[in-house]
């Protein structure tokens, strides 16, 4: 019997090229989301390249692997990633379900735009963990300590603002609803998300929610 594995080189080359293209697209979109958030989120809402999702979620998984050693190994990275995936799925399903009554909305649009809105979160978490290594807390009241505190707080605020812009635009282009309905939806979301965050904090799964 012949057990040799036959590799379709052409298909392999095509898959590799597609994946690299998607990787470059993710990097390009990351910078475009900084410069042109409105146009970029609008473009992303029409996207259908699943490799991009794979890359974003792959980066998030790598981050969880990275902090596994940093946090003193309280929970395995796979468990944290699994909980994050559940949280993410419930979030987008909630917004999709709320806006389902309006016509011409696509679930894929929610998935793509919300996945890209995870990039500020990933940036903040990655930067925080790096700063944790370089400048471990607690901060002191020395001049440098106070200066760093102001810098870190401003940095966190900036990324939070970027995150809020991306979430708002994601909802705007995915639901195609007006600002009042979006604010109302976010309010309803907070009603269950805040207790959920407290629950995750209580079990030391996430101190700051990864969403």
């Amino acid at each position: 019997m012949d057990f040799r594995i036959t590799i379709n080189r052409k298909k392999l080359a095509q898959t590799t090229t597609d994946f690299l293209t998607s990787f470059l697209t993710v990097i390009r979109n990351y910078f475009l989301l900084i410069i042109f958030p409105y146009k970029t989120v609008r473009k992303i809402s029409f996207s259908d390249d699943r490799n991009q999702l794979l890359i974003i979620f792959g980066l998030i998984f790598l981050y969880f692997k990275f902090i596994y050693y940093l946090r003193g190994k309280p929970y395995p990275a796979t468990l944290l990633f699994f909980i994050f995936i559940i949280n993410f799925t419930v979030t987008i399903s909630f917004f999709y379900w709320l806006s389902k009554s309006s016509n011409k909305i696509l679930f894929s649009s929610f998935v793509f735009t919300f996945s890209y809105s995870l990039l500020p979160t990933l940036t903040w978490f990655f930067a925080s963990s790096l700063l944790y290594i370089l400048l471990p807390p607690p901060r002191t009241i020395s001049l440098l300590g106070r200066g760093f505190s102001i810098f870190f707080f401003a940095f966190s605020l900036s990324l939070l603002a970027w995150k809020l812009i991306l979430v708002y635009l994601s909802l705007r282009f995915s639901t195609r609803l007006g600002i009042y309905r979006i604010i109302y939806m976010i309010f309803l979301y907070m009603l269950w998300f805040i207790p959920c965050t407290v629950f995750l904090y209580h079990f030391k799964l996430f101190r700051v929610p990864f969403i």
């Binding site: 958030p37 609008r42 603002a161 970027w162 007006g178």
Partner: protein, 77 residues
């Protein structure tokens, strides 16, 4: 020519995929449009200085509490 028309149509469909926001009053719409411009393109030009101003103001008001908050945030990842 037909390709250009199709591209233009696709682009226009993309641009007009959502209706403009209506806040119910003309002055509210005007304010929204004025603020919105800063967040549509290069929002960090506004966000970064504003964040630093807010951070400095919080430090001036609450003092050491900001330092403690940052310590907590640094454990937050």
């Amino acid at each position: 020519m037909r390709t250009i028309n199709l591209r233009l149509k696709k682009k226009l469909d993309e641009i007009y995929v959502i209706e403009p926001n209506n806040l119910g009053a003309r002055f509210l719409n005007d304010i929204y449009k004025r603020i919105n411009i800063y967040f549509k393109t290069a929002p960090f030009i506004v966000i970064v200085p504003l964040s630093f101003i807010i951070a400095i103001l919080i430090y001036l008001v609450f003092g050491f509490l900001l330092v403690r908050l940052v310590s907590i945030l640094q454990y937050g990842f």
